[in-house]
Symmetry: D3
């Protein structure tokens, strides 16, 4: 029962999230040989004001 968590900026729409869940699950299932049904994925969308890269807010780096 593996759990994959991805922390990233906000995503465009549900279709992209659907693709992401499918792609991560397939990738991990293929390598580990654990059946895809066993995988749980959490997409943890974060505002750019809440992500720091190199000591700066992402919202100040990417405008």
């Amino acid at each position: 029962m593996p759990v994959i968590t991805i922390d990233l900026g906000t995503m465009a729409n549900k279709e992209k999230k659907c693709e992401l869940v499918q792609a991560l699950t397939e990738a991990a299932s293929t390598v580990t040989q654990i059946p895809a049904e066993k995988f749980i994925v959490f997409i943890n969308e974060m505002e750019r004001d809440n992500i720091g890269v190199g000591g700066k807010l992402l919202s100040d780096i990417i405008k």
Copy 2:
């Protein structure tokens, strides 16, 4: 100072969250013999569009 994090779908109301925090804390405190005052619980509510199960979005599985 144990920390319990629960990732799950969105919860109905504050009363349920209150019950959940109490129940998890009591359960863990009883087993570990660590006083309940020491426990921190984070309820991480997630949209069904952001949870994948078996490679599909939960929002497409439960309608």
Copy 3:
């Protein structure tokens, strides 16, 4: 498919871990009405040298 993660110091033995998984699952299942079979629990045991409380290592607080 909720996921419960508990971060705490190292535990005594497998029996205690077994009790902890059972107690956390039952507690959360009862409150949320989600069947116990759906829950995943991760016990994240950490050395006391790797836990800080109030700016000090737990290994220096509890001797």
Copy 4:
């Protein structure tokens, strides 16, 4: 490529988040001697209804 995650209550404004990212990155970079550019920080703001302390909701403790 260290990743620092801070789970806390909601923050006042972007300026405070900016300061927090900078302060955490500098602190960790200084101690570990890993360059600041390599650090990622996630500020995970949580509602007081979703934080439990000692078995009670933070929203019921701090009013």
Copy 5:
């Protein structure tokens, strides 16, 4: 700078970990269009005594 964390049982060897990191990164990079160089992956291997599924330890389910 997305971060992917995968919590799962212990893995066989370094080759498998290498494949897993590559597969997860490619999958997420393709969907999100974020360059692969930006991704960080953490493989969080856990003992079967520390994973609970449906209220039971994984070490008691898979023998």
Copy 6:
């Protein structure tokens, strides 16, 4: 009761961990004005075989 988690490679010794806990706690306490006593820090040391950067294992990048 904020919780700071830092995921990074293995650290040299207990003295460095002690400094890290102290530095992160002070940094976050100063910015948030939350007393240092309230902070919990988890140092999550990971093997270089378990960290991926840009699709490659850190153990293959830094030798």
